[in-house]
């Protein structure tokens, strides 16, 4: 202790202290954020990354910039992870057809192999959420608990029956029927476009599995009450009641007061 206190006025003491402090905070930060930035579990070969780089330069770099650092017309993709690429390219949202309020889902432009290569390239730039493991997307979770999580976290935008809904200025939350389990998982982890991110600290992978199970369940069950009219609530139901219900009443009124031949 004495030796240490004697050297505290050494010219290099401040530098040593600063270094120590930086290492400590850096280490703590890395430890604290470790659960959220989970390591990439899917393995990509160097050839995948190489091919992905070529595809990226040919198809994506116009907007996202060389090296995916972003440009005025597209965000940086450094650190978005393989999950984001698999979702955006796999659902056909990227490449975007034209600039608009929101990238629309459309038939995918790249096949599975090319999507994987693009994902490998983007994942190689910086660590980010990986393509989910099979065990979380098998739809074998608890549908009841998934339903509760869905109603708290998702239903306000995606509708309680997952039929989708409108957002501001032309944007919308899409319907979730027919979306693959992997893509649902990836959307939760990465928060594509205006969707918030639901990282693993917010909704655990098991919770995400439950949500996927719930969505599969309601999709397979159909509507127990008969025609759901798009499950859009008062808009479609009200329209139906006014047009069909009142129409029948008017028809009966005309029949009641008409003259018999």
């Amino acid at each position: 202790m004495k030796a240490l206190s004697q050297k505290r006025r050494h010219p290099l003491a401040a530098v040593a202290l600063l270094l120590l402090g930086l290492i400590l905070t850096g280490g703590l930060y890395a430890a604290a954020t470790a659960p959220t930035a989970k390591a990439d579990t899917t393995t990509y070969t160097a050839a995948d990354t190489e091919e992905g780089s070529k595809l990226f330069i040919a198809n994506c770099a116009t907007c996202h910039g060389m090296g995916a650092v972003g440009s005025p017309s597209g965000p940086s993709l450094v650190g978005v992870g393989a999950a984001s690429v698999d979702f955006q390219v796999g659902t056909g949202r990227m490449p975007m057809e034209n600039q608009g309020p929101q990238a629309e889902q459309k038939p995918a432009q790249f096949n599975e192999e090319q999507t994987k290569q693009l994902a490998a390239y983007v994942a190689s730039l910086a660590p980010g959420p990986a393509v989910p493991a099979e065990e979380y997307t098998d739809g074998g979770g608890n549908a009841a608990e998934g339903g509760e999580l869905f109603r708290v976290n998702c239903a306000m935008c995606h509708n309680a029956a997952a039929a989708g809904g409108a957002l501001t200025r032309g944007k919308y939350a899409p319907a979730l029927a027919g979306v693959s389990n992997e893509h649902i998982y990836e959307a939760m982890v990465t928060g594509p476009q205006n969707m918030p991110v639901f990282n693993d600290a917010n909704i655990t992978p098991e919770g995400k599995r439950d949500i996927i199970t719930f969505l599969n369940t309601i999709e397979n069950n159909g509507s127990p009450g008969g025609a759901d009219l798009g499950a859009l609530g008062p808009v479609s139901e009200g329209l139906f009641a006014w047009v069909a219900g009142l129409g029948v009443i008017i028809a009966f009124t005309i029949w009641l007061t008409s003259r018999t031949s």
């Binding site: 708290v152 944007k171 991110v197 639901f198 600290a201």
Partner: protein
């Protein structure tokens, strides 16, 4: 002009006289000639109508039978498909049971029952004599009760009538206590941990990555035995993290957030719907009920829709273990305006 108003050509000094009486005396056209229906003249048509009515009543019988067949016959198993089938058949059965009777009766009345037109003479309008008679009845009653001559009775009656409604006040008062200052305060107080809805697990500041949205309740809400929903309806919070540079806190509110993590009340200031549609790129919060839109980068100022005031912000900080806690309660009442809010 009164003496000229008898309307006869002789009495009037109008120039045109010829044909005038025809114009002024409106001819009652009377009833349209009665037209016989097919069933009135042709016995075969009447027979056919009779059969049609019987068929409609028969439809009703079949509908009722269908109801009971569905009720007892459809075996419900664990799948929802059998329930759907039963619901459909029950509904169709009842619908046809009612519709058959209704349409049958109407068709019977229209096609077979007598349909001669009948006109009823209109009553004479009230005469002066009736009015006087009615007034006399009222005066007689007043006179006979003697209410004018007996002020004691009159005054006690007024007293009784004035007091009689008071029990109603007591009864309606029992509908519930006045809210008191419950509308101004929520469960949040200094040091209350922000926990996830519905699991109730606390949230570390490091868990909230940029672009995240957490649905938050105060710690201890799940353990409440009474009034859990009432407290939840006031205390729910949406926790979001965005780039700290995007936030523009006003003076005095700079440290209400932590590293770009901010917490806002989820209760719309319009009529209290949960505002939870968060767009992480535009930083807009949208209320699904009436499309009020709040801008997170301007302290949830209203930028569209019927809401009138910004969403209240919950001041938060980080405790010694790294968990997010509230600095205090909301600084203003959450939710829609109310009478005494001022």
């Amino acid at each position: 002009m009164a003496d000229h108003s008898d309307g006869t050509p002789a009495g009037s000094h109008a120039v045109a006289r010829a044909g005038r009486s025809d114009v002024e005396k409106f001819q009652d056209p009377g009833l349209a000639p009665h037209r016989l229906r097919l069933a009135d003249t042709d016995p075969r048509a009447a027979k056919r109508a009779e059969r049609q009515v019987a068929i409609l009543f028969g439809v009703s019988v079949v509908g009722t039978l269908l109801f009971f067949i569905a009720y007892f016959g459809v075996r419900l198993d664990d799948t929802i498909a059998t329930l759907r089938l039963q619901n459909l058949l029950l509904g169709l059965g009842v619908a046809f049971a009612m519709l058959g009777i209704g349409t049958g009766i109407v068709h019977w009345a229209r096609a077979l029952m007598p349909d001669h037109e009948v006109s009823e003479e209109r009553h004479e309008i009230r005469t002066e004599r009736d009015r006087v008679a009615a007034q006399r009845i009222v005066e007689d009653v007043l006179e006979e009760t003697g209410i004018k001559r007996r002020p004691l009775i009159r005054n006690t009656l007024i007293g009784a009538l004035a007091l009689a409604p008071l029990p109603a006040i007591a009864v309606f008062r029992d509908l519930g206590p006045l809210p008191g200052n419950a509308l101004r305060h929520t469960m949040w107080k200094e040091g209350t941990r922000l926990v996830r809805d519905p699991t109730g697990t606390p949230i570390k500041a490091s868990d909230v990555t940029i672009g995240s949205a957490f649905h938050v309740i105060p710690d201890g809400l799940n353990e409440l035995e009474h009034g859990k929903l009432e407290e939840k309806a006031k205390a729910v919070v949406l926790l979001m993290r965005l780039n700290p540079e995007s936030l523009n806190p006003s003076p005095g509110r700079e440290n209400w957030g932590y590293n770009g993590i901010v917490a806002y009340s989820k209760i719309c200031t319009h009529v209290g719907c949960p505002v939870a549609l968060y767009e992480q790129q535009t930083h807009h919060l949208l209320c699904p009920c009436h499309q009020s839109t709040f801008d997170l980068t301007q302290e949830c100022k209203v930028i569209f829709g019927p809401a009138n005031r910004p969403l209240p912000q919950l001041p938060i900080k980080v405790d010694s273990e790294g968990y997010l806690v509230a600095q205090s309660d909301f600084h203003e009442p959450v939710g829609p305006s109310f009478w005494e809010r001022g």
